[in-house]
């Protein structure tokens, strides 16, 4: 019962992220929406290795049922990459704000100079 609930949650999060990506024009809000999309993907990845009543994959006894460790490792990779891309996007927003004086994407199309 837990798995379909979490999957539905991930789908709803995806919908929220797309709604935000379409409606907002502020760069930092766009970054936040991309982060929400990342979290939805991570939920699905972690759920791939989910097993009811299984322990975390730290083997202290041999006869226990453990969840699959590979999705956890992959989600760790995804978290690190998403943190780095978030930092890069924020740095880009800082740069754009300094050069153009705005962080609204639709005001960046005007030429200046």
């Amino acid at each position: 019962m837990l798995a379909p609930t979490i999957l539905t949650g991930a789908i709803v999060l995806t919908g929220c992220a797309f709604y935000g990506l379409i409606t907002h024009r502020h760069m930092i809000r766009l970054v936040i929406c991309l982060n929400i999309l990342d979290s939805a993907v991570l939920l699905v990845i972690v759920l791939l290795g989910y097993e009811p009543d299984a322990a975390a994959p730290i083997v202290r006894q041999a006869d226990l049922q453990y969840v699959l460790g590979l999705p956890h490792a992959l989600s760790l990779t995804a978290i690190v990459i998403s943190a780095c891309t978030t930092a890069l996007m924020l740095g880009y927003a800082v740069r754009v704000h300094r050069l153009r004086g705005t962080v609204y994407v639709d005001r960046l199309t005007r030429w200046r100079g």
Binding site: A3, Y19, V44, V59, Y66, A73, L76, T77, V80, A87
Partner: protein
């Protein structure tokens, strides 16, 4: 207009996803973890399967991941130059100053412990590195108020530590290459794996953990400090 369009698109995404979910059932019916986890202990000597996958089976992926952090911190140090911390002109109260001074050693010890015990307990290089970077960032935020930059660990020190940790990671990989195995090979190189569950086990994994921990900690601290010291 745009909101209606957005509602339409995101609503159709949700509807499509939920119908697919109801038609196909759950995902976990398809996948049965076999004795994969027990095999990781035999192969690598580390009882934490996630760390075993990250630093043994997929160590090359982890090297790529570390390179991503390295590239991000380098680009950010270039993109957002650290001139002066104008954002940090708020006076903090005495309570915060002394409370953080009390808490910081615990945060750092917990971070180091998570790194060093990464192969026998939950944690690992990345998690512990994030804790270390959080301690560096808290230190910078709390004690560099009013532009007192001298309290912050110099940027160059962070850069040197990060580069040295990256170098250690890359050169640890050559051990496997020189002993006739693959790059970053662990058990094949003849390194004693030790008894699973003890601190000195897992061959190269603890060393790689420590290198990754320093690398991630200093890299993330560099990223965040380049962002707020703008």
């Amino acid at each position: 207009m745009r909101r209606t369009l957005a509602l339409l698109i995101s609503g159709s995404i949700v509807a499509l996803g939920v119908t697919t979910l109801m038609l196909t059932g759950t995902l976990s019916d398809a996948i049965r973890p076999v004795d994969y986890t027990l095999r990781t202990v035999r192969d690598t000597g580390a009882i934490n399967a996630v760390t075993a996958i990250l630093f043994d089976y997929r160590a090359l992926d982890t090297l790529g991941e570390a390179t991503v952090i390295f590239a991000a911190s380098s680009v950010l140090a270039f993109l957002a130059p650290r001139s002066s911390a104008s954002m940090l002109s708020v006076r903090l109260s005495m309570l915060i100053l002394y409370g953080i001074a009390f808490l910081l050693p615990f945060i750092m010890v917990f971070g180091f412990g998570t790194i060093v015990f990464g192969h026998v307990s939950p944690g690992g290089g990345f998690t512990g590195g994030v804790m270390l970077s959080s301690s560096v960032v808290i230190f910078a935020v709390v004690y560099s108020v009013g532009g007192q930059q001298s309290y912050v660990l110099p940027i160059l020190v962070k850069k040197y530590v990060e580069n040295a940790a990256m170098f250690v990671f890359v050169s640890l990989g050559f051990i496997g290459l020189f002993s006739g195995g693959a790059y970053l090979a662990n058990a094949l190189t003849g390194i004693p794996l030790g008894e699973p569950g003890s601190l000195l086990s897992g061959g190269l994994i603890p060393l790689l953990n420590i290198a990754t921990g320093f690398k991630v900690g200093m890299g993330l601290a560099l990223i965040i400090i380049s962002l707020f010291a703008e």
